[in-house]
């Protein structure tokens, strides 16, 4: 019954085990580095890096979801429909801009650190969610909306009980894309001073320490796979709850 939650739980277990257990692998990683270099990334614990990485992604995803969902709903209402073409063009042209460029361009404006990384993640993360919100809401058969209104629902009831549940799966897919991109971009955020699992990779690349690179890369990969499988499970759950609404 809850079988689809098993995969993310297992990945999470591997991720946590990796964060805690990597230092124990020191003897096996030793051959990767010169004798003089440290083998295990010393500056922060992997748990600290993981938590900060997650926090950056989670807060920016929450902000992006709120704004994109609000914006997507606003431009599909009768009073906001003038802005619909511009919003959808912004969402599609905006996604042409590479995330790493957004990250880089945030620095001249905001300086280094977690702040500009957060803004870049939230801004870029908006776009896939906005695109999917618009696609989901516009994909609803107008007859369904009319039927709901005919049943005496107010416009906000139509939105909450009919439109959002129908568009939910597409919106969730948009959030998944957004989060996947942002986990990757947050890792690159290490180059602009954000504290993430990208730190060991960057430090390793700068100092020619392959062991650091490997530790960071493995953990970033595990984080991405864990979160993605979590979204997969959420999607399954959504499908199960709303069996008739899978279209």
């Amino acid at each position: 019954m809850m079988r689809h939650w098993l995969t993310p739980a297992l990945w999470l277990l591997v991720l946590v085990a990796g964060c805690l257990g990597l230092p124990a692998l020191e003897p096996w990683l030793q051959p990767l580095v010169d004798g003089r270099q440290a083998v295990i990334y010393p500056r922060d614990s992997f748990v600290t890096l993981l938590l900060n990485h997650l926090q950056l992604v989670a807060i920016s995803a929450a902000a992006a979801t709120l704004v994109a969902l609000g914006g997507g709903i606003a431009v599909t209402r009768p009073w906001g429909r003038d802005f619909l073409p511009m919003a959808s063009q912004l969402a599609s042209i905006g996604q042409t801009v590479p995330p790493v460029a957004v990250l880089a361009l945030a620095v001249p404006v905001m300086g280094f650190g977690d702040g500009p990384t957060f803004v870049a993640l939230a801004l870029y993360g908006l776009l896939p969610i906005l695109r999917n919100t618009l696609a989901g809401l516009q994909g609803i058969d107008p007859a369904v909306r009319e039927a709901a209104t005919g049943m005496g629902m107010s416009s906000s009831q139509v939105l909450l009980r009919v439109e959002l549940p129908l568009a939910g799966r597409v919106i969730l897919a948009g959030i998944r894309t957004s989060v996947t991109i942002n986990i990757a971009t947050a890792a690159i955020g290490s180059t602009i001073g954000a504290q993430t699992l990208g730190d060991p990779v960057i430090a390793g690349l700068v100092n020619g320490n392959t062991a650091y690179v490997l530790q960071g890369a493995v953990l970033i990969g595990l984080l991405a796979v864990t979160v993605d499988s979590l979204f997969e499970a959420l999607e399954q759950q959504w499908l199960k709850r709303t069996p008739g609404l899978s279209g």
């Binding site: 990767l32 003038d82 802005f83 073409p85 511009m86 063009q89 912004l90 042209i93 042409t96 801009v97 590479p98 995330p99 790493v100 460029a101 880089a104 361009l105 620095v107 001249p108 404006v109 280094f112 695109r131 696609a135 897919a173 996947t180 986990i183 990757a184 890792a187 690159i188 180059t191 602009i192 990208g198 990779v201 960057i202 390793g204 690349l205 392959t210 690179v213 490997l214 960071g216 890369a217 493995v218 970033i220 990969g221 991405a224 796979v225 993605d228």
Partner: protein, 394 residues
């Protein structure tokens, strides 16, 4: 009776507000010292300031007044403004740098960037409202680009820090451009060559479909920095133990890990679009073609391929855009390209160098988008069918 255009009204009002309130440009006495910001009025003096406000006011008035030709008035003002911006900025540089700071340099500030962004949005909305043809869109774009190009050619923007960063390393810039293009286009081509046989097999053998899609989606999930990083150790090991690889220049750092990772990422959009393109051709069309006496080869070449082409080109478009951005990240593992400037600039806290890497990366992605969108439309029109990019979104 025409209603006011609220979109232009809002955009124009924000543009006017930000233009008047934010800093327009900055002046640095040299590369290291922090810049002094200048507001729009100080930077442009009365003449330039009046010109910008006037043209923005025209768009606002045209947005409110319900006159028949109003969108043309808006389009002309917006294009004129976009064309005037480099020359206005040039005047600012001349006034402020001049003899006072022979080694000085100027930079665009938030007000300038906001104006540029909002004008671009107004242009898009204006073009949409007049139902502009592809030629009109192209003309508007070319006019603006020509004006900027001319300003660069006569060195009107020679004092711009971005231009100065470029001029100290024109050869490196050219090399970065070549490396970036080679990696991006190379990855796109290799992934196309891999995807074609893969998809053909998937169509013949249904049980291959799920595992192949699962694999390429899984690869797409792995963050770029992680995949680049994971490739370094095995590639270094192989290179150290196989002299042949070493002679080919395949090492843990450099183009080899970049290329492998880029191809891995390119597989998902390529395989998905090829698969959709080749499987969504209506079955009755294929039967009709066979009924006309075509053999399998003819059906593929004359019916299936032309119908699939727009969707395949859309896949190439998405792949190219994605690879352009990922190539910039690949500079971290020493693959070259515009990412080199980005990360060098970040390392030295030299923001103009960051811009010199980031802006061309964005430009390349936008150029690829424009080119392949046009090609997809063209191939769809040749079929007499309409392009269906909506097919591809998940």
């Amino acid at each position: 009776m025409l209603a006011p255009n609220r979109v232009i009204l809002v955009l124009g009002a924000i543009a006017l507000l930000l233009f008047c309130s934010l800093d327009f440009g900055t002046i640095q006495p040299n590369r290291i010292v922090e810049g002094t910001p200048y507001g729009a009025l100080d930077a442009l003096e009365w003449g330039g300031f009046a010109l910008v406000t006037l043209l923005l006011a025209v768009t606002l008035v045209a947005a409110v007044l319900a006159l028949p030709g109003r969108y043309w008035a808006i389009l002309v003002s917006v294009v004129l403004l976009l064309m005037a911006l480099p020359w206005l900025f040039s005047g600012f540089l001349e006034d402020q740098l001049g003899e006072r700071y022979p080694y000085g340099r100027g930079g665009f500030a938030a007000g300038f960037w906001s104006l540029l962004f909002l004008l671009a949005l107004m242009l898009v909305e204006g073009l949409r409202q007049v139902g502009a043809s592809a030629w009109l869109r192209l003309t508007a774009g070319v006019l603006v680009l020509l004006s900027w190009w001319r300003a660069l050619e006569v060195e009107a923007l020679a004092g711009l820090s971005l231009v100065m960063e470029f001029q100290t390393r024109p050869d490196q810039f050219q090399q970065a451009l070549l490396d970036h293009l080679a990696l991006t286009l190379g990855a796109v081509m290799v992934s196309l060559l891999l995807a074609v046989p893969l998809v053909l097999v998937m169509i013949r053998r249904v049980r291959w479909q799920r595992p192949v899609f699962a694999l390429v989606s899984f690869l797409q999930t792995i963050p770029s920095l992680a995949l680049f990083g994971l490739l370094i150790a095995p590639l270094s090991y192989l290179s150290a133990n196989l002299p042949l690889l070493q002679q080919l220049g395949i090492r843990g750092i450099g183009w080899a890990p970049a290329m492998i990772a880029l191809v891995a990422y390119s597989l998902l959009p390529m395989v998905r679009n090829l698969f959709v393109a080749l499987t969504e051709v209506p079955a009755d069309l294929l039967e009709a073609a066979e009924g006309m006496g075509m053999n399998r080869r003819q059906v593929f070449l004359r019916v299936q391929l032309p119908l699939a082409l727009p969707v395949v080109i859309e896949g190439v478009r998405m792949t190219t855009i994605q690879a352009t951005g990922l190539t910039a990240v690949a500079a971290l593992v020493g693959a070259g390209g515009f990412g080199t400037f980005i990360f060098q600039g970040l390392g030295q806290a030299a923001m103009d160098l960051v811009l010199l890497g980031a802006l061309p990366t964005v430009a390349l992605a936008l150029a690829a988008d424009t080119l392949f969108t046009a090609l997809a439309r063209l191939s769809a029109r040749l079929n007499g069918a309409t392009a269906q990019p909506s097919l591809i979104y998940e």
